[in-house]
């Protein structure tokens, strides 16, 4: 058993302190004596490379071959970068480029790592050693010296004595981060109540329902039975600012069912038109787009957490973690036969937030 120099010393100190405390009075923490004796190291076994010079040379050959292979891999990666360039018109070229550069770099790093580990395991000295952990607590001398240094620094700087300087310094440090708070607040919505932003969408009375992504308005007569149409408010495709924010709130799924399949609440009878219903596409759970519509069962499935909504019964939740039905968009038909919204959604769309009524 070989021991490091300082390891042996630390172990001796720990042993003596535990012996001192054996007769300590009741209530004092005592380091329990280990009931299982330290078995020590298993007998040292010489490696093949220690016994057989041939094996030693073989291991050496393996290690330097691996290091040379690593050079080959690096050079290969450089060559591959030039030989397989990425051509913008050919997506296939990306694959070859990444594949061969990746193979070269993998070979370079892996051969380096395996070679180093093999060197360490098979050729470097393999004696076992004990390096005891030193105590956390410093010696009394060191602790007294540290207190002395602090004391001296306090005396020399006058930190404890000149209280006006000390307190003004603490005050300056407290005020210093405040500009960051103000600057970051400036990145958020200005002069707008976030609750209003979450509660209102682009839909207004008379806004036509339009196709996503083309923005062509939809005629009621063109919506065939069993259709599921992805809808945006007309004018959204022409927005130059905040287009995605508006789309994220106002996306709607339009479906046409047989009118006799719809179970309509009396107060919402005039919210649909001839079996055509429109519901918010934003899940009330955490806001994924709910659009997996099954036209025979009239179920809508959210792909994120498997919430299911029954379109024939005002999109009430029939399965999954969502707690509220999808908000319905009241629709009607204008004089030219186009589908229009009667108003905005009557409740905030999407997941719950703190101030939601």
């Amino acid at each position: 058993m070989a021991k490091d120099d300082n390891g042996g010393k630390d172990q001796a100190a720990a042993d003596s302190s535990s012996v001192e405390r054996v007769g300590a009075p009741a209530g004092t923490a005592v380091v329990a004596q280990d009931s299982i004796a330290n078995p020590g190291f298993p007998p040292h076994r010489l490696r093949v490379t220690d016994l057989d010079p041939k094996a030693d040379r073989r291991a050496e050959r393996t290690v330097y071959t691996l290091f040379y292979l690593s050079i080959v891999g690096s050079v290969f990666a450089i060559v591959a970068y030039m030989a397989f360039p990425i051509i913008p018109e050919e997506p296939d070229s990306v694959r070859l480029n990444n594949l061969f550069i990746g193979l070269g770099l993998t070979l370079a790093l892996l051969a380096l790592g395996i070679g180093a580990v093999h060197w360490g395991k098979a050729l470097m000295s393999d004696h076992e050693g004990v390096d005891e952990r030193h105590q956390v607590r410093g010696s009394d001398e060191t602790r007294a010296r540290a207190v002395e240094i602090f004391q001296q620094a306090n005396d020399e700087s006058g930190f404890g004595r000149r209280t006006l300087i000390r307190n003004s310094l603490i005050g300056a440090l407290i005020v210093f981060p405040l500009p960051a708070v103000v600057l970051f607040r400036g990145l958020g919505p200005q002069d707008e109540n976030p609750v209003d932003l979450l509660s209102q969408t682009m839909w207004r009375e008379g806004t036509r329902l339009a196709l996503d992504p083309s923005g062509i308005p939809i005629k009621a007569a063109d919506v065939t039975l069993g259709s599921a149409i992805h809808v945006i408010p007309e004018g959204l495709q022409d927005l130059e600012h905040g287009k995605l924010e508006e789309k994220a709130k106002s996306a709607v799924l339009l479906m046409r069912l047989r009118p006799e399949d719809l179970q309509q609440r009396p107060d919402r009878v005039d919210w649909s038109y001839n079996g055509i219903v429109a519901y918010s596409k934003i899940c009330t759970h955490v806001g994924c787009p709910v659009a997996l519509y099954e036209q025979q069962t009239h179920h809508l499935l959210c792909p994120c957490h498997q919430s299911q909504f029954d379109v024939s019964d005002h999109c009430k939740v029939i399965f999954g973690p969502a707690k509220r039905p999808l908000p319905q968009l009241p629709i009607a038909v204008d004089a030219e036969g186009y589908l229009i919204a009667q108003s905005d959604f009557t409740e905030p769309v999407g997941p719950s937030f703190w101030e939601r009524p």
């Binding site: 076994r45 490696r47 093949v48 490379t49 997506p91 296939d92 990306v94 694959r95 990444n98 594949l99 580990v117 395991k121 098979a122 393999d126 196709l211 996503d212 992504p213 939809i218 005629k219 063109d222 919506v223 065939t224 039975l225 069993g226 259709s227 599921a228 149409i229 992805h230 479906m255 787009p289 659009a291 997996l292 519509y293 099954e294 036209q295 025979q296 069962t297 179920h299 499935l301 792909p303 299911q308 399965f319």
Partner: protein, 270 residues
């Protein structure tokens, strides 16, 4: 002198080419070619047009229908508790359901499964002709829209808006509720993709020509065929299923090799 010799022999060959029989043969070949092409063209249009409306085909389809479909769909396709009415579903619906092997139904379950196609192309057409003769409905798609020669990028956008939520962004398919699923679109023929969009088979919604224009449908088909014929730029697609297959691969092979290397590094050398 070799130069003179070659010149004379070339002149001789030229004279041979201008032989009167050559022009006769050329005209004959040209006539054969145009005639043959015209014949091929006229038969192909005739198959698409006249087959479905000829009374003989309809009668043949009626017999096939009575023997194979009437048990569930009723003797005159009026429907029964076991199967829906087929009046007004159109030839496109029949060509999709029978042509992909979904009908006749193998067994009842959450949804009709694909199985080996049971009818020949002519029989499928006859069935389609019969069902189309009952009431007007979506007809077979125009072959000009099935060439997969549209705008793949525009088709990709339409696919992501309208189809990707069920069929996966790479058309690999996905799960629906209660055992139903949206099938993978790899290997589906252009005509069947088009017919599925027009008719909305089973739980798939209908995408009529107002919702996705015929050109848009052609672009979607182009996009799907582009995905099919071009390898994934990212290497192994692992079924294009996203985090499920990719995560599984990493957990097994990535972490597996990390564990193996760790075991090797910490083992004693012998």
């Amino acid at each position: 002198m070799p130069e003179i010799k070659t010149v004379t022999s070339r002149a001789g060959r030229k004279a041979g080419r201008r032989h009167p029989m050559a022009s006769v043969a050329l005209i004959a070949i040209g006539l054969l070619f145009t005639g043959g092409a015209y014949a091929m063209f006229s038969t192909s249009t005739a198959r698409a047009e006249s087959d479905l409306s000829s009374q003989q085909t309809i009668d043949e389809g009626k017999k096939l229908f009575a023997a194979n479909c009437a048990t569930c769909h009723g003797l005159s396709a009026e429907g029964s508790p076991e199967g829906p009415s087929l009046i007004g579903v159109g030839a496109a619906s029949v060509d999709f359901q029978v042509g992909t092997g979904r009908m006749p139904l193998q067994m009842s379950g959450p949804q009709a499964q694909q199985k080996p196609v049971q009818f020949t192309e002519e029989q499928t057409r006859a069935l389609a002709a019969y069902v189309a003769s009952l009431a007007p409905g979506p007809g077979l798609p125009d072959p000009a829209l099935l060439g997969a020669d549209g705008d793949a990028a525009a088709g990709g956008e339409l696919f992501r808006v309208n189809c990707a939520m069920c069929h996966n962004v790479a058309g690999a398919g996905g799960a629906l509720t209660e055992g139903k699923f949206a099938p993978s679109l790899a290997g589906v023929t252009e005509a069947h993709i088009y017919e599925a969009m027009v008719t909305g088979p089973q739980n798939m919604p209908v995408f009529n020509d107002m919702n996705i224009t015929p050109e848009g449908k052609r672009d979607i088909i182009t996009y799907l065929k582009y995905l099919e014929n071009n390898p994934s730029p990212g290497g192994f697609a692992l079924g294009s299923l996203g985090p499920v297959s990719e995560g599984l691969f990493l957990w097994i092979f990535g972490l597996g090799s990390v564990v193996a290397l760790t075991v090797w590094i910490t083992a004693k050398s012998n």
